[in-house]
Amino acid sequence: MNAPAAAATLTAQAFKSDYKPVWCPGCGDFSVLSAITKALPMLALRPEQVAIVSGIGCSSRIPAYTTCYGFHGVHGRALPVGTGLKIARPDLTVVVAGGDGDGYSIGGNHFLHACRRNVDLTYIVMDNHVYGMTKGQPSPTTEPAWPSKLAPGGTGVREFHPLVIALASGANFIARGFSGDPNGAAKLIVEAIRHPGFSFVEILSPCVTFRPDQRSWKEAVRPAPVAATDDPARAARRLMTDDGFNVGVLFTGKRRPYQPPVGKSVLRTADLEREFVL
């Protein structure tokens, strides 16, 4: 984490841009935006010290709604961009954000290797178990029996378990939040950013348009019954038997983050521009 030693604390409002989110009314992503903009001042960060990188999807619009540096990237490729940015600019606090389709399907391979590399960044996935932007197709985390026009009777395919995959791949911090508790989610994000290495925060974020049944998540979520562990074997047992609704910090690893020395041969902007001239 790269919090400044002495900076005037800003309010959440200072991290919100003038763009009004175009998400559907009732979307859980509003709360995640609220959680991020609350978490950053809690860390005494300023917008220019933070970069938010995203891929494609409803939730990936999030960089535009903040005053931090932002990069709305290519579908599924937010993590490579975020990783490169952190390697090149270790002084920045890098937050990568996106949805379950972007992160676990199109970007699934990058997810595995970002966990494995353990670069010091925070990955927030707004998981609504559906492709919302493209009108409600099943995503990797969709339950096998969820019926839709594109998959009548459900896909019949076992859902992806991102927290288990993250642990097996080497993520150094694993937490689950719920968008119905933005203040709780903000605290998780604070802990995630503070924890060295690759921090993964899955936030259950209902899609009220295509999955109105997810309104019932607020009755299903509960605080995780046990404190976070730093023992991967114990965490694996817990996560393998987890029903997907235990919220809180679930794993805090001790792996050393990967941060190669930044090279001295950084080109001047003019030199870089010349390289791109066709």
Partner: protein, 183 residues
């Protein structure tokens, strides 16, 4: 809801610290978070071309903002020293903040008021609970009871307001061109 004339509250302790200040910080957080949530709701309705409900949420945000300012004035705080998100509430959020999933793009003013009514009812229950609790210091107890009474007044005002807007039809949320890829 009309803007009420600020009432002179229970005489605050000369040294405004300790339990009294903690309670006022909590009350402030409750009001300011409610105001911010209504502002977010107003923005959402504006984006989705529902100006009537947007305007109503904007008005509610203004009212809650005034309540928050009143607390700052009473305490002589230029602003809250820092956000108090770490406070413990009975639920996951401050009682006067409506859950984000409560909105619908076709909602009508009556629904917005119904949502505001539930917020005020939760706030009243929260404050009345503090006023009743044996663990609450006397000065806070009295103040919480006053604030609970104010919330009861807000409940009456909103109920009255609801009689002045049309009650929605049963199929208010029926969209002839729904977003879902259904049959």
């Amino acid at each position: 809801m009309r803007k009420k004339k600020p009432r002179k509250r229970v005489q605050a302790p000369r040294k405004r610290g300790g339990a009294y200040a903690d309670f006022m910080a909590q009350a402030y957080t409750m009001e300011i978070e409610a105001s911010q949530r209504y502002t977010e709701f107003a923005d959402q309705m504006e984006v989705h071309n529902n100006p009537e409900v947007a305007q109503l949420f904007r008005k509610l945000a203004g009212i809650e903002g005034l309540h928050a300012k009143q607390i700052l004035d009473e305490m002589g705080w230029p602003q809250m020293p820092e956000p108090v998100y770490a406070l413990q509430w009975a639920g996951e959020e401050p009682p006067e903040s409506a859950p984000v999933t409560e909105l619908h793009y076709l909602m009508q003013p009556w629904h917005a008021l119904e949502l505001a009514l539930r917020n005020e009812q939760r706030a009243e229950k929260f404050l009345a609970g503090i006023a009743r609790s044996a663990k609450t210091p006397a000065v806070v107890k009295k103040l919480a009871a006053e604030m609970a009474e104010e919330e009861r007044e807000h409940i009456r005002l909103i109920r009255d307001w609801m009689t002045r807007v049309p009650k929605p039809d049963r199929d208010w949320n029926r969209d002839p061109d729904p977003p879902f890829l259904g049959d």
